[in-house]
Every structure is written in C-alpha cells, then in structure tokens.
C-alpha cells in the first residue's frame, strides 16, 4: 500500500489562508487536518469600550464577503440587548439587503471559485476566453446583487446605512422598482446557471452528519431566526447558543472548532436547505428538483448546488419583498434609541452558515464584553471528518488527484477563513 504525504500550502480560491495536511502509512491515516494559518484580529477584545452605534460598523470589518451578514447579526444583538423590536419596514428592507449579499456571495463562490475546478482550469481568467458567455453572466449577476446592496445600504462591502432600528436613508420608490426589474431580468440567468451546473459533474461522496441552521416560522431563515434548528430534531433558543454549540481549540488551527450533538456538524447552504426545504420559494424548489438535490442530502459537494437553489430563492423572494414594501409604503421612522445595561445575542444565517454575535452593554451603551461565533469555524471539524472518510475511498488514485479532490472538498464548504480567525492565531513551529 502506498504512503501519502499531501501538504497543500495556502489553498487557493478560498477567502483567507489555510493548508491541507494528509499523511497515510500502509493505507492507514496518520494525520488528516485542515490547518488554519490566518493572522489574528482580536475583534472581541477591540469591541470593549466601543459605543453601541459603532458595533456593527466595526464588526462588519471582520469579513469583506459577509459584511452585511455581520452587520445584521450585530444589529440583532444590540436590539436584543436593548429590548428593541424592529418595525416590519425594517425587517423587510433587511431581508432584501441580505438577499443582495447572499446572491453576490453564492455567485462569486460557484462561478469564480468552484467552476474552474469543474472545467479543469486554474481560475476564472482563462474562462473569459473559452466560456465568455459564462463569465459575462457571472459578472452580470454579481453586479445585480451588488446593486441591491448599494441602493439599500450604500455599498455591499461594509454597508453604511443599516443601523439599530432601521436605515439612515430609505430607498426611493423608483430605486425599489429598479431592484425589482433587475431581479425579474435575472430569472433567465438563474435558469442558465441551473443548466450550467447540470452539465458539471460533482464528486459522488456521502457522509451523514448533524446539520444546523436558524429557523423562523414565517420565512426561510436568513436575516433573522426564532430558534437554532438541528437535523437531529431539537431546537434551541438563540440566546442559549452557548449551550447548544461547544467551541474548542485544536493546536493546528487559529480558528476554534465546534461541535453540538455529535463530533462535528455542518452549517451553510446545504444545512439550511436540509432543515428548511419547505420554506424555499417555488422557483428554488424546482431548481433543487432539476439539480437532484433532495433534502436531506449528505454529500458536502452538493453545498454548491444548495447555493444555486438559494440564488433562485433570493431572486424570487426578493421580487415579492419589493412588492410588499411598495404596497405598505415607505415612511421615515424614529431611529432614537434608549440604551440600557444588559446582554443581547443576535444571529443570522449568512452565506456560509449561522453567525452569532453577543454583546454586554453597560448603562451608557458601552460594550463591556463581546463574543462572535463564525460559521466557517463551526464547519472545520466537519471538514476534517469528511476528509478522513473520503481519503480511504480514493487512496489508490494518484496523489495529485487526491490533493485536488481534497481542495475541492474544502472549497465546497466555501470557507471564509479570515472570518473564522477573527480571534485566534497559530504559532509557526
């Protein structure tokens, strides 16, 4: 039996820095890990002493890709701490804004980061020559998504208008109509994306695990949830997230790992589709059927398919949300806030999974304690167990092919490494 010695330094086409290390001897796995080597940022420590209205502007800088997700979780946490219930108008605008980020993140991931693997090229750059229509479609869809964020919050990366209780600027009716038109115009691109994914072959690999996401009785849970839902059947109040999720430190990772009911769990698009399939829009369900994604699905590579299903959902649901906002009519709302001492937990199901922010405020609205639990960190333990299950199945293949498949597996999770190590660092030895 051959011995493997795989060491992929700085996995490319992921957000942040990580290495894959696999060693086998006589067919037995001796070492199998995903090393996270991203530098630390210490956001929780930095938040101490900052004002309540600075919190979302600081924490959105944890991650450029899920900036709106961090903003939303942060606002949810501050509102929970102050006992504020946002208005229906604010909830609808946040839902639409969130769709903008979900769309841009999923499109970026599937087209720019994953598709090159399936088309056997090193990046999206050569595709501009060989598959120009595909690249132009990706750019068109990304632009549409970013336009939603720009109109509602100023920009996608680090939004400025989303604040506690609402928005410092409301969109004009014409701008909302423009968002709706762009979403309607994007439907053929969504269909073409589904057709593209149908032609690509995803690795066939299954490993059942625990899937965790938010859940809300009124909508497919993205920007808000009522409970933390597990595929094992239990539900947990968001404020009790520390009881459900156990974070732990492993020596080879600057990011904490996590477990819940079992040794590992998965968060992200596949977990959400598995847990909340019934709340997807009709177009999303038909995309899922066409792509052969049947919940529950245990193939982590299908996370990319789940992302496309969510793209369809965001486009269709976004159109409805715009209609709802327009029929309600937009009005300037009172954004004054009465600060009070206390602790609040806020969660959001961001592109890569469930994100938690928790802040403790003093009576002046100054943060005295902060904690953030990031989706990618929650997935690491599951990624490693997937690698352990996958390696024996492919161990007879050439080493390069094994390394490539493992890279694809890591990429399928859409890891946001810089996000996950907002607080930890590794020592190089």
């Amino acid at each position: 039996m051959s011995n493997l010695n795989i060491n992929v330094h700085h996995v490319t086409r992921v957000e942040g820095h990580g290495n894959i290390v696999v060693n086998t001897k006589n067919g037995e796995i001796e070492e199998c890990k995903f090393e996270v080597i991203e530098s630390p940022r210490f956001f929780e420590a930095m938040l101490r002493g900052r004002r309540w209205d600075e919190a979302q502007h600081i924490t959105c800088r944890i991650c450029g890709i899920c900036s709106i997700g961090h903003t939303t979780a942060s606002l949810n946490a501050t509102e929970a701490a102050f006992g504020i219930q946002p208005s229906e108008q604010t909830r609808l605008l946040r839902r639409l804004l969130f769709h903008g980020e979900m769309l841009q993140s999923h499109i970026l991931h599937v087209y720019f980061l994953v598709a090159p693997d399936l088309l056997n090229v090193g990046s999206v750059v050569p595709l501009a020559n060989t598959h120009k229509d595909v690249v132009l479609r990706a750019l068109r869809m990304k632009k549409m998504a970013n336009e939603i964020s720009r109109i509602l919050a100023g920009r996608h990366v680090h939004p400025c208008a989303a604040v506690v209780k609402g928005f410092t600027k409301l969109p004009a009716e014409g701008e909302l109509l423009s968002i709706k038109q762009q979403l309607v115009d994007a439907i053929p691109d969504v269909e073409a994306t589904v057709d593209l994914i149908l032609t690509l072959e995803l690795p066939d690999f299954e490993r059942e695990t625990e899937y965790i996401s938010l859940r809300h009785s009124e909508e497919y849970a993205f920007a808000r949830g009522e409970v933390i839902a597990s595929s094992d059947g239990d539900e947990t109040d968001i404020q009790n997230y520390r009881q459900k999720l156990k974070e732990f430190i492993v020596p080879h990772s600057t990011s904490k790992h996590a477990r819940a009911n079992r040794d590992s769990y998965m968060v992200g698009a596949l977990a959400r589709v598995n847990n909340n399939y019934h709340q997807l829009s009709p177009m999303a369900k038909s995309a899922a059927e066409k792509l052969g994604l049947k919940a529950p699905c245990y193939n982590p590579f299908m996370n990319n398919v789940a992302q496309i299903v969510e793209v369809a959902h965001c486009v269709e649901d976004g159109i409805q949300v715009v209609d709802q906002i327009l029929s309600n009519g937009l009005k300037e709302e009172d954004l004054s806030v009465e600060v009070k001492a206390g602790t609040g937990v806020g969660a959001a199901d961001v592109p890569r999974g469930t994100l938690y922010h928790e802040y403790t405020y003093d009576e002046n609205g100054i943060i005295t304690d902060a904690n953030c639990v990031i989706p990618t960190g929650q997935n690491y333990a599951n990624v490693e167990l997937d690698m352990r299950a996958l390696v024996p199945l492919i161990i007879d293949r050439p080493q390069e092919e094994i390394a490539h498949l493992l890279e694809m597996l890591v990429r399928a999770y859409d890891p946001c490494i810089s996000c996950s190590v907002h607080l930890l660092n590794v020592r190089f030895v």
Binding site: T12, G64, A128, K142
Partner: protein, 247 residues
Amino acid sequence: MKPKVGVFSFTGCEGCQLQILECEDELLSILGLIDLVVFREAMDKISDNYDIAFIDGGITHPSEIERIKKIREQASVLVALGSCAAIGGINCIKNRFAMDDVLQYVYGDEAHYFDTIPARPVDAVVPVDYYVYGCPAIKSEFLHVAQSLLMGVEPQIPNYPVCMECKIKENVCMFDKGKMCLGPIIRAGCDALCPSYGSGCEGCRGLVDNPNADAHKDTLQKAGLTVEQLMQDFTMFCNYQLEKQNE
C-alpha cells in the same frame, strides 16, 4: 510586454480584494492589459515573478514583516490597497490595549501559545509607492491608480476634505442634524458616501495632509459636540495616526 501583477493579502477582511472582483464592468478589460500572476483569493498561483504588487491588509504578526519585505524586494511598484494597508485602519484599535491583554481576553489559559504584535500599515515596514484609500478601498480610485500605472503617469489622489464632495452632493450637513462627522479633516475621494447615506464620516480614508483641526473644533462646538466624542470616533480607523502624533 504586459506588466505582471500580484495581489497579496495580509491581515484584514479581504474586502479590498473583493472590490477588485467587483469592478464587474472593467474586469475583463483589466485582465486584457495585465498578466495577473498571484491572486490567491481568486486563482491558483501562476508565478512569483511580478512587477506590481497590490497589498491588502495590514501587518499584525511577526511573520508578516518578513513576507512584506520579500514582496518589496521583488516588486518594482508597491501599492497599499485600502485602510488596513494604507493607514493601519481598524486593526489598530487593538493597539489601544496591551498585547498581553488582548491575548488573555481571547485565549484565556491558552494565551501563551499565541503571538501578536501591534498592528501597523505597510509603510511602517517597507516603502510604499502608491496608496488606494478607504474601507473598503474605493473601486474608482483603484481603477484610477491601476490605469495611471499602466499609462506611466502619476495618480492624482484627493488631498482635500470629504466636506468638499459632500457640499457638491448638496447633502444636509451632519452637524446640522446634530450628528458626529469626521468629514472636515478626512481625505475625500469616496464621493462622501457615508454622509450621502445619512451616516457621519467615520474617517476610513485617513487624515488629509494638513487637517484644519481648529475649524473642526469650532464646528463641533456649534453643534454641541465635544472633542472627546470626536476622538472616540477618530480611533476607529485612525488610531495608528493618533499613536504617531502622540509619540
């Protein structure tokens, strides 16, 4: 010969690299004019031989000092992309605490395993040729700098305050709304984005070269705000500049 370009990330949120990918209308033209050889976030590496280096993120770990020096040796032109790289930015809030304290707060008993240094911008370690400011880096400014480098001309970066652009946009002044704003002393070039969206300038593009601090103080007084309130906001992005001033 097309110039070879590398994009490198240090400590940050990688949002500035994302801004490059968000030049949706221009991306294919740019890729036609350059050879992109390193851009880990978007592609497998092609070569370590590059002429122009764009640096995203700041320096916060001992290993990053050696890494940025190597990149500087290779690159004939080095551009700091965005606040963390250009002015220190948000990473430097950490410097307000002792390094032992932030380590202890985050790691508790495991603190001794880890290492961190006070955060700093790229030009605290190696010379920087050009700067693209903003958190995130402003797309139009990135395109302007990239275009200037390709054409061999000097990029023109605003050295006047955000107020200028805010006036042109006919925004109601934040101070008239009783809100804090750093616009009077912060470098323009963002088209006064935050004030245009009803939110005071947070200073992400850093100070202009000669800020008129006295006039800003007068404006604060008239709006019933204090210098202490201003300094709290100022430390969000400009803590490094404050440290240098206080040295």
